[in-house]
């Protein structure tokens, strides 16, 4: 039995479908028409304690719905969810004391009050013992360099500062699991890096299980060990980050700069794209063409100034997965 066990979970929403214009509005009042949207469609996965999961997918793929079911906000239509022995939507009050949730787009801080006041409020809500509260507060504010704005009203903070404060707010009660829903959205490069480092470090030192949704591939590459990709409510990939390259990233490209302009003889299974006069790009599938043989052939036949092999970017691979170009 894993720490988090999601078995065959589905959830669909009923959406009121209105015809356009005022006649449509009136018609809808008397004869409402509904459409059903399958937000999550039979998803299963399991997560061990202390894992760092990147949970990604295009907009509308069902990420948020899954996170909401895992955190107990929504109850699934069918299937079962077990987290650390609890069923989230049934054992809500006992369960939620063990989790922290950061919604990048929705702050849980008191807008008009200094950051520290929101923390004091959370201390009372979660019944955090004084000693633990002080320990966590000091540690996290130091790690995230928050001393300078701890006593400033939230409304005066920059987005990056607010996000850091929101992350601490979700961690004060020492949760065992933390859900990060786009925790770096709108934050500048330096701020993002601070947040990533903090999350990474905390995952390693405290063995907190973390589930991370984002649209920023840098977040994923720098933070997560394992990826779960979902699309249209179903899981399309579950495994290590490096596995994506092995599974989907089979295309290689070789950029070659020749010493002078020349004609290239066609090579089997290799596509040749001229870049400029003396530069050409060779694109091929890893399994069809041996890269050393191709390079040998080029080196013996032509005079070459520079050569550059590249693997496809994770981002472009994931874009391909979203677009259904690979399977």
């Amino acid at each position: 039995m894993s720490f988090i066990e999601v078995t065959n979970v589905s959830k669909r929403f009923r959406i009121n479908k209105r015809a356009g214009g005022i006649p449509g509005m009136i018609a809808n009042m008397f004869v409402p028409k509904y459409e059903y949207k399958q937000a999550v469609d039979g998803i299963s996965f399991s997560i061990e304690e202390g894992e760092m999961i990147g949970f990604i997918g295009p907009n509308g793929a069902g990420k948020s719905t899954t996170i909401k079911m895992l955190s107990g906000i929504l109850c699934p239509d069918s299937g079962s969810i077990k987290v650390g022995g609890y069923t989230p939507y049934k054992d809500r009050k006992k369960y939620v004391g063990n989790i922290g949730v950061v919604f990048g787009q929705k702050s849980q801080l008191q807008w008009d009050l200094p950051v520290i006041d929101s923390f004091e409020l959370l201390k009372a809500i979660y019944r955090i013992p004084e000693e633990l509260y002080q320990k966590n507060l000091n540690r996290f504010t130091e790690m995230l360099q928050m001393e300078s704005f701890l006593y400033q009203p939230v409304r005066q903070l920059s987005l990056g500062q607010r996000m850091r404060a929101d992350i601490v707010a979700a961690l004060l009660h020492s949760p065992k699991i933390v859900f990060f829903d786009e925790p770096t959205i709108g934050v500048d490069v330096v701020g993002k890096e601070t947040i990533r480092q903090f999350i990474r470090e905390l995952n390693e030192t405290d063995n907190i299980t973390m589930i991370f949704t984002t649209h920023d591939m840098q977040d994923i590459e720098k933070v997560c060990d394992r990826l779960i990709i979902i699309d249209k409510g179903s899981k399309v990939y579950d495994g290590e980050l490096s596995g994506i390259r092995e599974k989907f990233g089979t295309t290689r490209q070789l950029d070659v700069e020749f010493t002078q302009e020349c004609e290239i003889e066609p090579v089997e299974n290799v596509q040749v794209i001229p870049l400029d006069n003396r530069k050409k790009r060779f694109v091929f599938e890893n399994r069809d063409v041996k890269i050393d043989e191709l390079m040998n052939e080029l080196l013996t036949k032509y005079s070459i100034r520079d050569i550059n092999i590249s693997e496809p970017e994770i981002e472009s691979l994931i874009r391909k997965i979203y677009n259904g170009e690979v399977s």
Partner: protein, 269 residues
């Protein structure tokens, strides 16, 4: 356990107060604005009544006493049930999701996280002013029993309105927006409640007695203390029902709330 809950309520209230003091001038002005807005209605009634002398046997001070009950109960009610009044917004902006994520009762959080002190001071203040103007001039001989009755009537009146708010808030789970329903049922009924029930058409009386029972918020408690002749049209028992009706309606609304929670769909991103 109880100490823990009281402590939390204290921290919530302190937080609300602190936010309030961030905008001191605005806070005073908003309370004053509510006070004056509600007063204008009363002033119109006052000058109209000066021309007519009585309304179905009620003189102007007795009417002000009737009004005072309405405002005092609303002032207290809104202190506790602001969160229910604004629940539609809380659902739409995802605030309710956050309540679910905290290890505390949902209704408890809705009630104690918010308190509209502006409305409370505006309405409650007006209620107290009206009470002070009218109470000595309507011939009530205050005794311990009557004072107790008055307090229980206030308690019942607060719960009746709280139950209506809870019921309408619960509908938000299904409809997302219920502002116009509240306008239709609550505020319109409340406009009638400013006047003696007996002056209205039977249909309106039925609504005020059995649908949105505002008559039990102020008319019957006022009748108990004033004993006007038009009371003859209603059963004597109505004079004593307010606290029980308040508790019953609130429990019923609470059951509806508990039942509806499992249909909560969240607002989406």
């Amino acid at each position: 356990m109880i100490r823990d809950v009281l402590h939390l309520i204290g921290v919530y209230t302190k937080t609300i107060m602190k936010s309030w003091f961030q905008y001191k001038v605005d806070a005073v002005l908003r309370s004053l604005a509510v006070f004056l807005r509600e007063s204008t209605g009363i002033i119109v009634v006052y000058f109209t009544l000066l021309k007519f002398d009585t309304l179905n046997g009620w003189n102007v001070y007795e009417l002000l006493f009737l009004f005072s009950l309405l405002f005092v109960t609303y002032g207290i009610m809104i202190l506790f049930f602001t969160g229910l009044r604004d629940f539609g917004g809380t659902v739409r902006n995802g605030g309710f999701d956050r309540y679910i994520l905290r290890p505390r009762g949902l209704l408890f959080q809705i009630i104690f996280v918010n308190a509209d002190w502006f409305a409370a001071i505006g309405h409650g203040g007006l209620g107290i002013v009206l009470f002070l103007i009218s109470a000595s001039k309507v011939g009530i001989v205050w005794s311990f029993d009557k004072a107790m009755y008055y307090l229980f009537a206030i308690f019942g009146g607060v719960l009746i309105q709280g139950a209506i708010f809870l019921f309408l808030a619960t509908l938000n789970i299904y409809l997302l927006e219920t502002g116009s329903l509240k306008e239709l049922f609550y505020w319109n009924a409340r406009k009638f409640a400013g006047y003696p029930l007996s002056i209205f058409h039977k249909a309106i009386q039925t609504v005020m007695l059995y649908v949105v029972p505002f008559a039990f918020v102020n008319y019957f408690p006022a009748q108990y203390l004033l004993r006007k002749e038009d009371m003859a049209a209603y059963p004597e028992i109505f004079l004593y029902l307010t606290p029980a009706l308040g508790v019953a309606m609130y429990l019923l609304a609470y059951v509806f709330w508990r039942f509806s929670l499992k249909y909560y769909k969240s607002s989406g991103n």
